[in-house]
């Protein structure tokens, strides 16, 4: 009897072995450091590894990424699916070793390298951030503004609370940026206050008349600004999202300033690289973000300006909108 059981056991092992080997084919293993609760750490490692491995398989098999029950929340899966529809992706490494950081009630792990298959050549690589809830389940994923930018920004913190605020700002900016990449109009609609001031600049040629002095000494271009309502901006975005199959937004040169009188107000200026199937541009985006409710930050102001004039002349630093330009806005 024992011999038969032993044979059956061996047979089961033999049958399972090829299955395990197939499972391991595109496996990505995430090793996390920095959390003292070993059980929670291991759970997060297992969840993230399972999700990253699923990315790899879905990418290789040219199919939609599937939910990993128990490893990620429904909202995280929805966010991932939206990104997937823009461009399938897979993990760039077979092993990733990163530090886990706690903020608020959540945990985050940064610098997860992904390869985006549909992105233009040379722009396939992005780092993403995985957000875990306190039970270790993946609750969100968004594209990072980059290791160095995040490091540099956090290095400038001068206190524990400033450090925490900076974490909030980074997470919001990254999530905001990724909402465009995943065409998440609902999210964008939610984060703009209803009476948000939205300003878009464009370069126009100006008439100089016949004055020789003016012709020589004045630039023949200037930026004119138009104001949009939230509804106008959102409708415009909807149209852009529906026209373009591929859309990628990147933020660089991030600058953050905290308001002197209202410490919950932050001014964020980024250089935005807008790439869609039909159109590309580069410009400066300024956001005035209200962190009064840290879990639900609100954008009061968004401006866009081109980074340079059509003759190639870069826009002056002083011309770029900043918090000081909107300091007198009435706030509720």
């Amino acid at each position: 009897m024992d011999t038969i059981l032993l044979k059956l056991f061996r047979l089961a092992i033999l049958l399972l072995l090829p299955f395990n080997m197939v499972i391991a084919q595109y496996k990505t293993n995430l090793v996390l450091t920095g959390e003292s609760d070993k059980a929670l750490l291991e759970k997060m490692q297992a969840n993230a590894s399972a999700v990253l491995t699923e990315f790899n398989y879905a990418f290789a098999e040219n199919r939609k990424v599937q939910n990993q029950p128990g490893a990620m929340s429904a909202s995280a899966y929805e966010a991932i699916l939206m990104m997937w529809e823009m461009s399938p992706f897979r993990c760039y490494e077979t092993q990733v070793i990163e530090k886990l950081t706690q903020y608020n009630d959540n945990y985050e792990v940064r610098n997860i390298p992904l390869f985006f298959g549909e992105a233009p050549e040379g722009e396939n690589y992005e780092e993403v951030v995985l957000i875990f809830d306190k039970s270790g389940i993946i609750d969100n994923m968004y594209i990072s503004i980059g290791t160095n930018r995040v490091n540099g920004f956090l290095r400038e913190a001068n206190s524990v609370s400033d450090y925490r605020h900076r974490q909030y700002v980074i997470n919001f900016v990254e999530n905001f940026r990724t909402s465009y990449n995943r065409k998440d109009i609902d999210f964008i609609e939610k984060v703009f206050s209803d009476d948000a001031l939205i300003i878009v600049g464009r370069v126009v040629k100006q008439q100089k008349g016949n004055n020789d002095f003016l012709k020589k000494n004045l630039s023949d271009e200037q930026i004119v600004y138009s104001r949009k309502s939230k509804a106008q901006y959102i409708n415009g975005l909807k149209s852009v999202f529906s026209r373009n199959e591929y859309l990628n937004i990147k933020f660089e040169e991030i600058e953050v300033v905290q308001h002197g009188l209202y410490p919950e107000l932050y001014g964020v200026t980024v250089k935005q690289f807008w790439n869609t199937t039909t159109y590309s541009d580069v410009g400066y985006v300024f956001l005035m973000i209200d962190f009064k409710d840290e879990d639900k930050p609100i954008i009061h102001v968004r401006t866009w300006q081109p980074d340079k004039y059509s003759d190639g002349r870069a826009i002056e630093q002083s011309e770029i909108f900043s918090l000081g330009d909107f300091g007198d806005l009435n706030r509720e």
Binding site: Y26, V31, I97, N158
Partner: protein
């Protein structure tokens, strides 16, 4: 037999005697636990002291300060990584938000080591330093500015052989010198890898810094490779190669472009999905390039023979290649 029975009976009948083996067992158990703890600690310590710490040991042993950064080139990545390393050293102090302290430490001639890896079309750098090399002023709970000791790496390393020292020197050189030759790096690398304990196939973590990454760490400088974008192109190219050095930039480029993954034996989780490239560890000469198995038989695409037994290549080093 009778003696054993008698002895057992004697113990069973005498409580006092019964306690004796119990005490011995307790002592033995305690001794074993201490021994195991010391062994684990010693292993971790030696691993950390090793000339060639892996990314895994740097990040998980707790014995290092480290900083990680990405750059368009190696120089930028390393400068950024160093800044982050310094910030992390300062952050671990009482004055974690003292920007002046950061600047002061940055200005010191911090002797650190680093690894570099390709990350997409950019470079990832990992700068690291043993924690024991940073001296603290316990009274002031401050880093001793100007007195912080960042010892020369050579003087505090723990080399086991002269050969390893030589390898390490070359490895560091291979990382930091602009005009490196791949030939020198991959072979030296591989030699360096062989000085580490062998790890069973498929094992993931301890000691298993993905050697794909270790390889990557040394092959960031490479001549512009030919454009190879498909499985058949690569097979054709390999068949025309003689030395693994000719292949390294191609493989790196294909990985950067998301076409393949590659690694060595220790990170080989499913051999049946991989092409296997074998080469002589001393000369880099290709000794075999095996197709994925069909009915458990592989075909050597270089030597044009069927291979049933991989022990044929036991003297060779292996790189696996997985196509996406």
């Amino acid at each position: 037999m009778d003696f054993l029975k008698l002895t057992k009976d004697k113990y069973l009948q005498n409580d006092q005697i019964m306690k004796v083996p119990g005490r011995k067992y307790d002592r033995l158990s305690r001794f074993l636990r201490v021994l195991i703890a010391l062994t684990v600690f010693f292993h971790a310590y030696v691993s950390a002291q090793n000339d060639d710490p892996t990314e895994l040991s740097i990040k998980t042993s707790g014995l290092y300060f480290y900083g990680q950064a990405i750059g368009d080139n190696e120089e930028i990545a390393v400068i950024e990584a160093r800044q982050e390393l310094v910030a992390n050293i300062v952050f671990s102090s009482q004055d974690k938000f003292d920007s002046q302290l950061q600047t002061d430490v940055l200005l010191q001639d911090v002797k650190y080591q680093y690894l570099v890896f390709p990350r997409g079309n950019r470079i990832r750098a990992l700068a690291y330093l043993l924690k024991e090399r940073v001296i603290w002023d316990a009274k002031k709970e401050k880093l001793k500015i100007g007195e912080a000791v960042f010892a020369e790496q050579e003087s505090q390393q723990n080399p086991s052989t002269d050969d390893q020292e030589d390898l390490q020197t070359e490895q560091v050189k291979s990382i930091s010198t602009e005009n490196i030759e791949f030939e020198e790096t991959i072979i030296n690398n591989d030699e360096a890898i062989t000085t580490k304990p062998d790890v069973d196939e498929g094992s993931d973590n301890d000691n298993n810094q993905d050697v794909e990454q270790v390889m990557d760490a040394k092959i960031v400088k490479s001549p512009t490779p030919e454009i190879i974008s498909s499985e058949s192109d690569l097979i054709h190219f390999v068949q025309g190669c003689e030395n693994v050095n000719e292949l390294a930039p191609i493989l790196t480029d294909m990985k950067v472009n998301g076409l393949i993954q590659f690694g060595d034996q220790r990170s080989m989780s499913n051999p049946n999905s991989y092409y296997l490239l074998y080469f002589d560890p001393n000369t880099g000469q290709l000794t075999g390039f095996l197709d994925k198995p069909k009915n458990e038989v592989r075909y050597d695409l270089i030597n044009k023979t069927q291979i049933q037994d991989l022990s044929h290549y036991k003297k060779s080093k292996l790189i696996w290649i997985l196509f996406f």
